[in-house]
Amino acid sequence: MASKRPLRSMITTASSSQSLRPTQTSKASMVRTSACAFSSTASFRTPEHETQTADRPRWQQTPARMVAPFRIRPEAKGGVFKVNEDPRRLDEVYVRMLGPGGDKVLGDEVKWLAVTHKSFDHGRRGFNDRLAYLGRRIVELQTSQALINSPQENQWPRDANGKPQNDEFGRKPYLHPALNGLQGLSDEAEGLVLNRARLAPIAERYGLDKVTRWVPKRADNLKGSGIESVLMTSLYAIVGAVALERGGEVANKIVQDKILAPLGFSFAPDPYPRYV
């Protein structure tokens, strides 16, 4: 059926990472109720002239039909919180965090999406929940592996001759080199490593607090509004975005070098990684 074709093409053309707004307009005879046409295919519609409204990226503006003509709610207590609008400042933060060339690692939209909290603009420009979810899984797994590989005492206490000693029941566990370091892995140890109070200063060092887009409860009391939690979300979201766009290898490296190394873990450069 003819009506099914634009639906399919909408779904397949949405696979490109560019903005979803198509460039073709609808027929001139139809009343233009939206900024751009629904369907991006030119198959059975006659190609019209380009729309006059510039195709602004999603991160830059709220969608036109979602904005009320004037504000009804009273102004926020504590003042208006100003967020960053400048792409260059965002690029600087990415370079500071991901190293030289860090601003080229992610695509344009994803770069902004990763630092946008759900509170910003009521979620109308997208938010980084999903990216933070994936990023947290990656960071936790890398932290566990770092805890396992970190220098710690022997897997099992040994006596003066190097022989493993018995426990109170007179037995010895099964000792294997692969099981080395597991005694250092526990939820408490992970909680000590990955808590807000330790990660927020790292994010601040990279400058994420200046470019994260969010709306605090009170602009004059950012700490009470939960800036630490928002910064952690941004940090994890950047890791998740890198994983989705560049792959797990790059994301793991970023977690090790940029998040865990400042927390005190050291990673020897390993040309032949055993366990990834």
Binding site: L7, R125, L134, L141, Q155, F169, R171, L182, S186
Partner: protein, 409 residues
């Protein structure tokens, strides 16, 4: 490790145990029995009639003889500890357990995977508090591996899923009930009571006595925040979007647990053990074979409250024309069972269609269908991030589609 003198152990065993609420198996009775009492002949016969592995005390005697620590008492020199007083079977008993051999071959694991490691994954911390003998650390590692592989697959395959549906899907694939089901499908049986004399291939954990409540560590804590947002759940609790963080496996050392919790810990610990012993390529294949092969219909996990409003906001956000519901066809309007078929259109393109017995119902179903069509978008081919870990050929990598998020009303 602080060594408890054997005399103190003996005094605990000699204390009269409270009357059990259900009849104990002969092995549990033997564990609580006094050491000085010689077992009756019928009890001895009952012991050898069951299918438990024959306890081999030869190893234990050798261990005790070789031990030269200062804390050993004369008791341990003269009589080795009976196996019933050990919290879990000796690691050397793993080689003799047919259950473990069968489990390893049933899961198609290579023979270089040691049976002692497999035996360790079956010991829950509530059975044996010693972290070197139980599966607590391995289950933490395995849980994170499972969470990572499942999340990346789900986010790459369905990039537009709302967060609530992601939570539900992850719980359906690798949640507690799913893992307990997987363990029972693998043929894992649980021992009635943990101890050193049972077969190494049984799942060992301390059971909750019948009639008792769930222990406090496993009960839901009163939420300290009255308003738990989705972002808070993502950052603070677990991967299933629960309201509180789950109890740490190491904290369950003294508490009885439900069998579901023990089975879930076993599956996670097995993944962790496979990772440390055999490496991540094998773990990824194992995960694909045992977890990704399970079919879940994600379209049934949606629960819309006001799909018409959500769809309207979605069209406004994406710049589509406002959705309009139009009646496509109908029958039996004045009868007792009318059927209306309504389509939701944006301009001239139909977004979704729904059938209902009233006009409103059909319109709402059509809007829900349109939203599902949006959220369940699935790209044709995906490369998951973990495929690039340690990969020599990075030319197969295709960047994944990153969606901006579900529509917020």
């Amino acid at each position: 490790m602080k060594r408890i003198p054997i005399s103190r152990c003996a005094s605990q065993l000699l204390a009269p145990s409270p009357l059990p609420r259900r009849p104990l198996c002969p092995y549990a009775a033997a564990k609580h029995a006094r050491r000085s009492i010689v077992p009756h002949s019928h009890r001895v016969q009952a012991r050898f009639q069951s299918t438990v592995a024959v306890p081999d005390e030869g190893d234990l005697e050798l261990e005790m003889a070789a031990h030269s620590g200062p804390a050993s008492t004369s008791h341990s020199r003269s009589e080795p500890l009976p196996l019933e007083s050990l919290p879990s079977p000796h690691p050397s008993a793993a080689e003799r357990s047919t259950r473990l051999h069968a489990l390893r071959s049933r899961l198609s694991l290579p023979t270089r995977f040691p049976l002692q490691a497999l035996a360790r994954t079956l010991v829950h911390p509530s059975a044996d508090a010693n972290p070197a003998f139980n599966n607590a650390s391995l289950s933490i590692l395995g849980r994170q591996l499972l969470g990572y592989y499942m999340t990346e697959w789900l986010l790459c395959t369905y990039p537009r899923l709302p967060m609530d549906v992601i939570f539900a899907a992850i719980e359906a694939y690798i949640g507690p009930k799913a893992l307990a089901t997987v363990a029972s499908e693998w043929g894992i049986e649980a021992a009635e009571e943990p101890g050193g004399e049972i077969d190494s291939g049984l799942l060992q954990f301390k059971r909750i006595r019948t009639g008792d409540d769930l222990p406090a560590a496993l009960r839901r804590q009163a939420p300290w925040k009255w308003n738990v947002t989705t972002t808070h759940k993502i950052m603070t609790t677990d991967e299933f979007g629960s309201e509180d963080a789950p109890p740490s496996p190491h904290a369950l050392e003294k508490t009885p647990v439900p069998s579901e919790e023990a089975a879930q810990a076993f599956v996670r610990a097995l993944i962790g053990a496979l990772h440390v012993h055999l490496g991540s390529p094998l773990v990824k294949r194992f995960f694909r074979d045992h977890f990704l092969s399970r079919h879940l219909d994600i379209s049934t996990l949606f629960d819309f409250r006001t799909p018409t409003r959500d769809l309207s906001h979605l069209c406004a956000r994406e710049g589509f024309e406002s959705p309009v519901a139009r009646l496509i066809s109908e029958t039996g309007r004045l009868s007792r069972h009318p059927v209306f078929i309504v389509g939701v259109y944006s301009g001239r393109d139909k977004l979704g269609e729904g059938a209902g017995s009233s006009l409103d119902e059909a319109r709402v179903r059509a809007a829900a269908a349109a939203l599902k069509a949006w959220y369940l978008y699935k790209p044709a081919e995906v490369t998951v991030p973990s495929s690039m870990e340690g990969a020599l050929d990075t030319s197969t990598w295709r960047p994944n589609y990153v969606d901006c998020g579900e529509v917020i009303v």
